[in-house]
Every structure is written in C-alpha cells, then in structure tokens.
C-alpha cells in the first residue's frame, strides 16, 4: 500500500529534461516582463514629474508648515527645479510607523503589515504594493542581509546611508539603521528636487514601531 509521500511522488511525475529552447523561452519572457516594468516605471516617473512641474511650485526645505509665500513660479528658460518642501504631518498615524513630516501636497496613502506608501494627494494608483511615483517606507527585506552602501549620513541619532538604485529614473533610497540592527528603507521614486539634507530631514521624522514587520523578496 502506498503512503502519501509515494502517492505524491507518483502524481508529481518523473523529472523530465529541460531543453535549451525552454530555457530560452523563459529568458525571453523574463526580459519582456523586465522591459514592461521599466517602461511602466519610467512612464510613471515622467507622468509624476510633469504633474509636479505643472504645479509650478518651487519648494524650499522647511521644518514649518507651508504658506502661499513659499510658492514661486520658476519663470526662466532653464529647466524648472522642483525642490521638496516638508510640512508637518497632521493625519492619522499609520500602523508600524509614525511620521513627523511629509512633502507638501502629499498624504499617507496606503499601509500594510510591511510597507507604508506616501503619495501626492489624489494619486489614482492606490495599490500599496506599487511604488511608482510614491515614497515607500519599509524595513529591509528579510531576504536581504546585505549592508547598504552609499553616502553616509546621520539621521537624527541614527547612522544612515543614501544611495541611488540601479533602476532607470532617479530612484533614491535612504537607509537608517535601527537600534535592533534592522535597516529602515525609505525609497523615493523620483528624488528630483530632493537634496540629501531634505531626505535626511524626512527620514529623521520616521519612527519605526515594534509592530513593523519585514517584507520578503
């Protein structure tokens, strides 16, 4: 009489051979998916940049709340530079983290057990697992035990690193080492207009709560 393991082995079938053509097809599918993803990302980033420019707002890094006087039309032939201005966050605090400041005109948009997204108010893409055009805040993946490298910074009383990801566009990560040894990751999809000082100021206002959990992958 066969036991469960034997029955499952029979049902799984004998291991067949993989041909080079099958592997080629898998590579081709992967390349197409990667290309789609990159196109989607760059399209998302461009759309976001256009929306930001259309607002014709120049921001200055500020710890206080904004005022109309902070808004200045660029009005020159040079490319408009959009500098992020941080304002005090007034909304409900998300699970897993607390936030002191957000970029003016942005809101806490989505949160699950392992990631928090901040996005421009009214952004159509509400999927918390989609980071296009947003800021994603999370703990370093449980699968990634590498130590972040880049420009060393001091984020409040914690050591941190800022680096640029190899992805197309201008994606920057701020990594902040937590007292328990885990790294907090703050991924800014389009870091155009973000000085390192602004990124550090923003990161210093993010506090990881005991309930935050690491994601996977």
């Amino acid at each position: 009489m066969m036991d469960l393991h034997d029955r499952l082995t029979t049902l799984a079938g004998p291991p067949g051979a993989t041909s080079a053509e099958q592997a080629d097809a898998d590579v081709a599918r992967g390349r197409r998916a990667l290309r789609r993803r990159r196109l989607f990302r760059s399209a998302g980033a461009s759309a976001f940049a256009v929306a930001a420019l259309a607002a014709a707002v120049t921001y200055g890094v500020s710890g206080g709340t904004g005022s109309p006087a902070d808004t200045t039309a660029t009005g020159t032939s040079a490319p408009a530079v959009v500098t992020t201005r941080l304002v005090a966050y007034q909304g409900a605090q998300p699970k897993g983290f607390t936030i002191d400041k957000v970029p003016a005109g942005w809101e806490v948009q989505g949160v699950n057990a392992s990631v928090l997204t901040i996005a421009p108010k009214g952004l159509a893409d509400k999927n918390v697992d989609s980071f296009v055009g947003k800021i994603a805040i999370m703990l370093q993946s449980a699968d990634d035990h590498s130590t972040p490298t880049g420009t060393a910074v001091q984020v409040g009383d914690k050591p941190g690193v800022i680096n640029k990801t190899p992805d197309p566009g201008n994606v920057k990560d701020l990594w902040v080492k937590q007292p328990n040894g885990l790294w907090l990751q703050v991924q800014i999809w389009d870091a155009t207009g973000w000085s390192d000082a602004a990124i550090v100021e923003f990161g210093a206002g993010i506090h990881v709560l005991p309930g935050a959990v690491q994601g996977r992958g």
Binding site: M1, M2, D3, L4, H5, D6, R7, L8, T9, T10, L11, A12, G13, P14, P15, G16, A17, T18, S19, A20, Q22, A23, D24, A25, D26, V27, A28, R29, G30, R31, A33, L34, R37, S141, D143, D144, H145, S146, R216, G217
Partner: protein, 173 residues
Amino acid sequence: MKTERDEQFHSFVLSHRAALIRTATLLTAGDGHLAEDLVQSALTKLYVAWPSFRRADNPEGYLRRTLVNALTDERRRWWRRHERSVAELPDRPHPAGPGEDDQNDGLRAALRELPPKMRAALVFRYFYDLDVADTADALGCTEGTVKSQTARALDRLRGVLAETEIPLTGVTR
C-alpha cells in the same frame, strides 16, 4: 545580446525547471497545463527580481515563496490570458503504471478540493519533508497555521479518499 543576468538565469532554468514543474504539478493538484503556467509565472517573477534572488540567504526558500505567491496571486489570471508562448506542453513520460491511474485520479480530486495554501502546506510537509518552520516560511504564515492547515488538509484528504476506497497511510501529524 545576452546579458550576465540572462546567462545566469538560463543556467538556473536548465538545472531547476524540471523540479519546479514537479512541485507545481502538485501545487495545482495534478493539472499539467496550470503547472506549466505557474512555473512560467514564477520564473518570470524570478528573472525580474534576479538580483534579490542572488542575494538571498536561502535561495531555495525564496524559490518556494515565489511559487506560492504565483499560485495565490489573483493577478495570475492576467498572466494566463497573456502568456501563451508554449503551444503544447513539453513531452513528459506518463507517470502512472497499471492500476495507478485510479489512485492518481482519487488523489488529484482530493487535492483539488483543498484551498491552494492548504494544498501547498501538504505538499511541502509530505512531499518535500520540510519541517514546520520552513513550510511556514514558504507560505508566509505562522508555524501554528501550518500545523492547523496540515491537520485539516489530512482530514479532508482522508474524507475524500475514503469515498474512493483508497486509504491514506504513512502520515503523522
């Protein structure tokens, strides 16, 4: 032109695809077409996340999680509509010997009755002999959930297999 990622991934597929198909066949309750579809989706995700996979401390665990995620990802419906590049399934030897077809059909039907994650718990525990902790890691749940899911899966399996008069042996909780 092949990139370094392409070459690494190609070698990985050559050495791992067959085993992935076997796992996927069980995860899909013996559905060969769905298993191929599942492996294609999982490999595509893996290619996109190749740098993360290469950095992973536990690549086997990463692979299992990718398969389970592809299995449970509702967006797979989208993949099924769009990924049709394999016109016919690759030839595989017929697994069943004389008299085994009925038993396979019974087990296939019993597995099909289980929710995907419960089925996956059973496969990882009783086909791969993974311990509870590794199974929990693959499924992204707690060890307690694995224990309860496995127990319920076995109960359901016994119930269905009893109707086909094929007893279940060799399992412990």
